[in-house]
């Protein structure tokens, strides 16, 4: 049984469940600098490595708030991960919509956005 790794702040937690290949984001994340976001980047990279080719899910359903530095951090990870994976017919695109508190998505799309 693999242990769940967790980052916990005053208003948020980010949890990696290696068994389920899922990283779950909860609460309000408004950190200051990319250094402050480093533990999250490291957790995401470790989660990606431990998924070892399996699908890794990022679950934002319980995330209420993410500032633009956080959007930047997560999208940077997704673009980096996509560049290490080869897709046969689709390209990756990222939509992190902040229009309402429950609307978050990082999805694969047919548009040639990223290589």
């Amino acid at each position: 049984m693999l242990a769940v790794e967790q980052i916990k702040g005053d208003e948020y937690t980010v949890e990696h469940d290696p068994g389920a290949h899922t990283v779950t984001f909860k609460g309000t994340i408004r950190l200051q600098t990319s250094d402050d976001y480093l533990p999250m980047t490291q957790l995401l990279q470790a989660a990606h490595d431990s998924a070892a080719g399996e699908r890794l899910s990022l679950d934002f359903r319980q995330l209420q708030f993410l500032n633009s530095s956080g959007i930047s951090t997560i999208s940077k990870f997704v673009i980096g991960a996509a560049s290490r994976i080869s897709f046969s017919s689709t390209w990756w695109a990222i939509t992190i919509s902040t229009g309402s508190r429950s609307r978050w998505a990082i999805s694969r799309s047919s548009g040639p956005r990223f290589r």
Binding site: R30, Q32, N67, I96, T98
Partner: protein, 191 residues
């Protein structure tokens, strides 16, 4: 005569009749020293402002909760920018808001050293003159390759997902400081 330059949807608010007007003055160093002061300020003003929306609204208008969510993101980005990008001898950060029946205008003022104005002007012109969706994805890609501070992702999200219109004004204060005023116009209509 103050030497000033405006960009985008800048509006002179001096003669505007508002249902309500709010203002607050802070110190940029205080915001930067305890980062939580940015979110504390934005949470306070987003709630305060959202209470101007009636408990029930006709179809097509933003309800109170939706507006509060928009404002919490908007104001947090603007307060964070003031904390991140202030410099020079003037440390004042000023918050102002004009509440009108169909829109709300928020204005954050901070101060920078004059030598930083050209780069900021360039940044603003790119933001205002490009397709926001295209620029958003371009900035995501650039950001993935290098750690860019001030990528504009916050502004771009606000423009493309929330329909917020931005105006900017630079005013020289003596020869040591430039006041940067950022105006955000938020429509009360649903996108």
């Amino acid at each position: 005569m103050i030497d000033s330059q405006t960009h985008g949807a800048w509006q002179d608010m001096a003669g505007v009749t508002a249902l309500s007007y709010q203002r607050m003055t802070l110190d940029a160093d205080d915001l930067a020293r305890f980062w939580r002061r940015c979110s504390l300020s934005s949470d306070f003003w987003s709630r305060y402002s959202a209470l101007f929306v009636p408990a029930t609204v006709p179809p097509g208008r933003l309800n109170r909760a939706a507006l509060e969510s928009v404002l919490a993101y908007l104001l947090n980005e603007l307060f964070e920018n003031c904390a991140k990008f202030s410099g020079g001898p003037v440390g004042i950060v000023r918050y102002q808001a004009w509440i009108q029946s169909d829109s709300m205008t928020f204005q954050l003022t901070n101060h920078i050293e004059p030598e930083r104005q050209p780069a900021f002007t360039h940044f603003i012109r790119e933001l205002l003159e490009n397709d926001p969706d295209e620029l958003y994805f371009r900035r995501l890609e650039e950001n993935a390759e290098a750690n860019v501070q001030g990528s504009g992702l916050g502004y771009l999200t606000l423009i493309k997902d929330y329909g917020i219109r931005f105006g900017f004004q630079f005013s020289a204060i003596g020869d040591q400081s430039v006041a940067v005023e950022v105006q955000a116009h938020v429509s009360m209509k649903e996108m």
